[in-house]
Amino acid sequence: MWLDGFVGALSSENIIWLFLGTFLGLIIGVLPALGANFGVALMLPFTFGLDPAAALIFLCAIHASTNYGDSIASILLNVPGGPGTVATCWDGYPMAQQGKAGQALGIATLSSFIGGAIAWLSLAALAKPIGELAMIIGAPEYFMLGLMALSLVSVASRGETAKGLIMACFGLILSTIGQDPVTGLAYRFTFGTLWLEAGIPIVVSTLGIFAISQIIILFEEGKIAGKALDVQDSVLSGFKEVLRRPLTLLRSGVVGWFLGILPALGVALAGITSYLVEKNYSPERENFGKGAPGGVVAAETGKGACVVGDLIPTFTLGIPGSVTGAILMGALIIHGIDPGPRFLLSGDLPYIVFAGLLLGQLSYLIMGPLACKLLARVIFFPIPLLAPIITVLCFLGAFTERNYTFDILLMVAIGIMSYGLGRIGYPVVCMVLGLILGPIVEINFSRSLAIDYGSYAIFLHRPIALTLLTITLLFLAWPYFKDRLGFLKNAGEAATCGSDTSNKKHRPGEIATLLAIGALMALFAWEARDFNQAARIFPLVVIIITFMLIVPRLIYLIVLARQNTKPGAAAESGRESRPLVPWTVTVTFFLIYVALVYILGFILASSLFVVASAYYAGYRKWLILAFLGVCMGIFTLIFADALSIILPRGVILELLLP
């Protein structure tokens, strides 16, 4: 049957669809902000009329290559191509800045493939036992997994523990905005805004946190930061770097695979968790964040394993492991295959699907490096042209997630906030962890209590949950017991809340930020008084913990500030170089762009934004600017028309053409 599956998948017609899917997937993946969900969902209707095998191979190829293609933007531009490649930016982009873009891309290619292959092998060999695993992992175990993942805040914020915890709590409270997942009756912290009742989606938040804030930096720096990023070094050198790190592959592959087979945890979490776990154990951990190849290997392997691992519960249990999995499941059903334990009993087609999954991974392994050289030309674009184009793509990505114009505003607001937090040295990755894990922790805690009708003893009756809790506590405690001297030193650092990490220059900003967060928490606490009890508990606990972190930190900062009021003490390092476009101007442009989307519609607003912002950033070639503006309008028009997306028309067009 397996052989029949591969033979079927390799028929001439299916090969064409395989390569077409890979090609389209690479293009969609490379475009920042448009991830696999988008690619698979929008290609799905085109497959309705196809032969089932061709349709499924096409979709599997898109699924594989969009996830891979996401890495390219992350490495070359420091803008995540999709939620799964957030962690790839952290070492991939620094590598590119050091002139090792090719190596980074090669690492991403092979790591992603190996991660996917590990998961594929487990799918092929162990589908049934893995399906059984999902039977014993329930709400208490998910809750403990969520806590375990939250404990990675300590790794993500090493040396900045207090800041990291504050950010994690901030992310947790942001994750509670919207309809409460426990009772569905309370609409928390929405202040009457309908679109906030649906919460803050991960795509919009990661776009804001990593893409928008990076665009602000790109405009400030005015050049591809660092040295020329020509992809002249060998992609194959990246392959060698991967093969030199078998332990990293194993650790990250297992983490990504595990997070993939458990439904609903998501590829964003897999990439970040694999990275942070590797950061804890890798011999090159000191270089993580500065261009460590191991960081890219970890993030990409974890992501690749999760992307295919997600399909295990999808195929074996009929429970989609992710949104993309749900769409693929819909495609399977439409084409006559029922996911579940009887999946493999539906003739040849399921084996063709399995073969298609592996071939999808192989095809991007072959086409990817070729595409990298071609697509990497984008880095030669002048920043005044490149940054506005990426902004438009981010706006498109944010809008297409849920078809809310409001999401564009939300993304910009989160982006501005993240930029500010990054400037004062707060680790926004911890905020992302909070945003992703908040709903998982809250809803699974509530479900756990319901098992024993409100009794907390349920956690004592679940050995796997207890084991996970023990592992979490050991994980947190281990660094302090590792070395007695190290224990004393680390404990001292923890107790002083990172006393060495408060930058005098940013202190007023930090104080203002903490006061603002505190005020927001107070407002939320006041709002929460009207919620039902089940909807109120989690936000209040987070708010209380946040205050317990903010107040000592504020006191500490104020005391430090008073100690440093001697004349001359405030003299800091020399003036920064003049930015190409100050962040205040970039933010203003973003906000005007958002307003124009509402007023003039997306197409016209995008064209005007690109021309105006490029001109302001110093690009004066009128012909090119005009051409770019027109091209951007045409691109968004074709994009919307081809993929049946209804872009906002704007108030004025609505009046002119009701």
């Binding site: 309705f48 309908l194 649906a198 429970i319 749900a326 029922d338």
Partner: protein, 334 residues
């Protein structure tokens, strides 16, 4: 040079404006031509059907199955486009439809039980779903109740007086509460994201029961190979389920079967323009009776159940009366 630059930029701006108008107005131009030839006045532009859930799910599949057929039967050639607007258990997408102009160009897929329940919970604010214009039904599915095979409950009688956790999806709140009342159980509603997830929780023993659309739940009983036991059908007999699964009436339960009948209906905002309403009712009625629609639904594992006109209005009205009857049981929000 400056003047030429300004002129050039002005021309470019005009071109961009033209693009925007072209993108939005090409159909109007085409219809403008058609109008001259005494064709019906409506529709003049694309119609949008809002699916208030993410792409790939049941509602999405049904909408995409019927959209091309509605196009086929409308009096004029325009596109019927499906737009996914998920969020807050269908509230955001439904509200977008409700607040749109009642000109027939913005419709949505709705379930009147869910609308009524959400309204009773206070979730709809100023929007009154009872005033929507209900145009045509795509399908109607009974609800199937499953428990864990070999678990602490073996039959409905075991549930009397017992604490029971019911999996909640948003769309099944009413049937959960009605069944709990009928069997005498003390319900705790526990939120889950989807039927496969909820059924897995039941199979695992983390949840006592799951009640949702029969076809989807029955598939899970096969998927989970004997770990689930179907015990009750609410909403009438389902053709795809074996006769061994009894309905509430057959079991003599004091339970209104309608609480478990999940309907998927295309609706427009209140006070829909009469010409548009008639054209849509005709087109949707024909589309849902088209053999291609039936085939596509069957292939996807659903059964088409077209309904329109006075029968549909009565069915919807009966649903809202049912909501009023059970209103005291429905938990209220803020």
């Amino acid at each position: 040079m400056v003047n030429r630059r300004k002129l050039f930029l002005g021309l470019v701006a005009l071109l961009l404006l033209a693009l925007s108008l072209t993108g939005c107005g090409s159909k109007q131009a085409a219809q403008g031509e058609a109008k001259k030839q005494s064709e019906p006045a409506w529709p003049e532009k694309d119609i949008v059907i809002i699916v208030p859930y993410k792409a790939g799910g049941g509602y999405d599949i049904k909408a995409r199955a019927v959209a091309p057929l509605i196009e086929k039967y409308l009096p004029k050639k325009i596109n019927v486009v499906v737009k996914n607007v998920p969020g807050a258990e269908a509230k955001v997408g439904t509200t977008e439809m409700a607040n749109s102009k009642p000109d027939g160009y913005t419709l949505a897929l709705v379930d009147p039980i869910q609308l009524g329940t959400m309204q009773a919970q206070g979730g709809f604010g100023s929007v009154d779903p009872r005033k929507f214009t209900f145009l045509g039904q795509l399908d109607a599915d009974a609800s199937l109740m499953v428990i864990k095979a070999g678990g602490k409950f073996t039959k409905l009688e075991d549930m009397k007086g017992q604490n029971m956790s019911f999996g909640m999806l948003g769309t099944n709140t009413l049937v959960n509460l009605a069944v709990a009342e009928a069997v005498g159980a003390k319900p705790t509603l526990v939120s889950y994201e989807s039927t496969p997830e909820g059924c897995l929780a039941v199979a695992r023993g983390d949840l006592d029961t799951w009640i949702a659309t029969a076809d989807t739940v029955f598939k899970q009983t096969k998927t989970l190979e004997g770990k689930l036991k179907p015990v009750l059908l609410v909403g009438g007999r389902s053709a795809q389920l074996p006769d061994s699964i009894k309905t509430a009436s057959e079991l003599g339960l004091k339970l209104d079967e309608s609480t478990g009948l999940c309907r998927v209906i295309i609706a427009g905002p209140a006070n829909l323009e009469p010409g548009a309403k008639k054209a849509l009712e005709d087109a949707i009625g024909k589309a849902t009776r088209d053999s291609q629609f039936t085939e596509t639904m069957k292939k996807a594992g659903y059964a088409a159940a077209p309904l329109g006109g006075d029968e549909l209005q009565k069915a919807v009205s009966d649903v809202f009366k049912l909501i009023d009857k059970y209103e005291k049981l429905i938990p209220k929000g803020k």
